[in-house]
């Protein structure tokens, strides 16, 4: 039985597009783990390049809390795993791409051999952590994170902003 809400302490992959150099090693690593071939077409992570390849955006399933793809799949092939990832069950998938079309980030990748969709499963079968993150060690654009870490960082950032906003201006600072 799949649940709609993810478990509280699930890891996910945090993306920092600013650090992405567009080297596409992550695509290679992903395809290597899942198919045993160095074929970026079989990768579940994709790099979208803009403005003549001057900026890049890694596209990866965000495992939304209220994932619309789970609701829209006509075959109920999309479901959440125990790790919190949202994946396609290839035995049920008919390749209609409803999950790709409803996705706000267009992340599900289409398997060129079968036409079925596939998304990030956080390399759950491997046990050593996501391979794309390991491949991205040099750039550091991909990082394994937990929800509470991100929340803590955001809170600290917010507090920093609030500190400046509510600080009484001293005589020297007033113009």
């Amino acid at each position: 039985m799949h649940t709609i809400m993810p478990p509280d302490k699930n890891p996910f992959i945090l993306i920092d597009p600013e650090k992405c150099s567009g080297c596409r090693l992550c695509e290679m690593a992903c395809a290597m783990l899942h198919t045993g071939r160095c074929s970026p077409k079989h990768s579940r992570i994709r790099i979208l390049s803009f403005d003549g390849a001057s900026s890049h955006m890694p596209l990866l399933c965000q495992a939304c809390e209220q994932a619309p793809c789970i609701k829209c799949c006509p075959m109920n092939a999309r479901g959440r795993t125990a790790e919190g990832a949202v994946v396609t069950d290839p035995d049920r998938c008919i390749g209609c791409r409803a999950c790709l079309y409803i996705c706000p980030f267009a992340t599900p990748a289409v398997d060129p051999d079968t036409g079925k969709t596939m998304t990030c499963d956080l390399c759950a079968d491997d046990g050593t952590g996501p391979w794309c993150v390991k491949a991205c060690r040099d750039c550091g654009a991909l990082k394994v994170s937990e929800a509470r870490e991100v929340v803590a960082r955001k809170c600290r950032g917010g507090a920093e902003i609030a500190k400046h906003a509510f600080k009484k201006p001293t005589l020297r600072e007033t113009p």
Partner: protein
């Protein structure tokens, strides 16, 4: 508290299982007119086309009901409700008391008034028992009456089974509720390329045959066939609510908490009329994701957590053989009778087609075929956020090209509507 749910469909089950997940002490009963555990009507054509085995259409097993302690009354139809005394009566004469009643019985197939509609060999694809019958019958030539999503999918399934398939549509283009004529023509061409005959602007007058269907007569021709599939849409089931004195219009009327006009009675799924989440107009989108969302809202309200339903949204895809198409929001036809300046953004590159309907600068709908369909989610996001297309055009050189708040969705959207970097 006793909760009685009418209908064992997607909405009814979602209510029952959400309630059970939250509370162990509720007495939950589902009354079903059918004799199967919950199944998904969207997947029936794929099972007929043998894309997937029959067991994949089921969303629940008998064990799920047992382990969640949900009582099932199968092959029983609720015939009347007494909102004063708070009990419902089934056609077998069983009286069921309730504290909260959920009407989730969905709709029934619209049977067009055609002579010979009850001839053997006339099938439909709405319920699993009907799909089973279609699956077990054999033949060589099929006519599908109606070209909605189910009609097209059933046509594809029968083609895969080796039938000669003809799809007949009364209106001028196929998938009339979902696509504009410009996109429909392309889908029509790809259907014809795959060997499915498509006849539009044609009215079926009669179905001929005594022992078995022998032909379908339209106002233009006579089509010999041995199988007919009726796919003319679904009408919401409102008779039960109407006889109980509950307010109905096109469907059962509900407020923002999905309560009907009678106290203690909720409604969700294909039988209700709600609002469009984006425009706030009255709307009925009989789609699965809406049923699921409505059911979750009903479950929360029954549990005493007052929560409002934001509204239904239209999203559908059409997929046959190697063609992939998607539509969301309103079609041009639906916006034509409204005030406001309409702009249509079109991109046409061979087999790939994109059509975005912009009203007063805001995206209100769109359709896409082929590679453009992959990024249609960005336009849906723009519709939800109410991003103004003129301001994206105007500010295009100023939109950040990198940085930690890089608006890549806006940049990709700009590229798709033809802005050059």
């Amino acid at each position: 508290m006793k909760v009685l749910i009418v209908g064992n469909g997607i909405a009814g089950n979602e209510v029952a299982f959400s309630l059970r997940k939250a509370r162990m002490d509720l007495d939950i009963t589902i009354v079903s007119a059918e004799r199967f555990p919950e199944y998904d009507p969207c997947s029936l054509p794929y099972f007929i086309g043998r894309d997937v085995p029959r067991q994949t259409v089921f969303r629940k097993t008998w064990d799920d009901y047992r382990s969640h302690r949900i009582n099932l009354l199968l092959e029983q139809r609720v015939m009347s409700i007494d909102p004063e005394a708070r009990h419902a009566t089934t056609e077998k004469g069983l009286t069921l008391g309730y504290d909260r009643l959920v009407l989730a019985h969905g709709g029934s197939l619209f049977i067009p008034p055609i002579a010979g509609i009850d001839t053997p060999g006339v099938h439909s694809c709405k319920q699993l028992s009907e799909a089973d019958r279609l699956d077990q019958s054999s033949g060589s030539a099929a006519v599908v009456i109606g070209s909605g999503a189910i009609g097209i999918e059933a046509g594809e399934a029968l083609k895969k089974r080796g039938y000669e398939v003809t799809v007949i549509e009364l209106l001028d283009w196929i998938l009339p509720a979902l696509f504009d004529p410009e996109s429909s023509r392309r889908l029509e061409e790809s259907l014809q390329r795959c060997g499915i005959r498509v006849l539009t602007s044609e009215k079926v007058l009669a179905i001929e045959g005594a022992e078995r269907v022998s032909a379908v007569v339209t106002d233009k021709r006579r089509i010999p066939c041995d199988t007919v599939v009726i796919a003319t849409g679904v009408v919401p089931g409102k008779a039960l609510a109407q006889t109980a004195g509950i307010e109905v219009q096109r469907g059962i009327r509900v407020n923002e908490h999905l309560q009907t006009s009678a106290p203690g009675i909720f409604a969700c799924g294909d039988c209700v009329e709600t609002v469009d989440a984006c425009t706030g107009e009255d709307a009925m989108f009989q789609l699965k994701h809406n049923a699921l969302e409505q059911a979750q809202v009903v479950a929360r309200n029954i549990l005493g957590v007052t929560s409002a339903y934001p509204g239904a949204w239209a999203f559908a895809r059409a997929h046959f053989f190697d063609t992939h198409a998607v539509t969301f929001g309103k079609t041009t036809r639906a916006t034509q009778c409204e005030l406001g300046q309409l702009e249509i953004i079109e991109r046409d590159e061979g087999p790939d087609y994109l059509r975005v309907i912009v009203k007063e600068g805001l995206v209100v709908g769109g359709q896409a075929i082929g590679k453009f369909a992959d990024f249609i989610g960005l336009f849906m996001g723009a519709m939800w956020r109410k991003d103004a297309i003129p301001s994206i055009r105007q500010n295009w050189p100023l939109i950040a090209r990198s940085g930690s708040i890089y608006p890549w969705t806006t940049r990709k959207l700009g590229e798709l509507i033809g802005l050059k970097s």
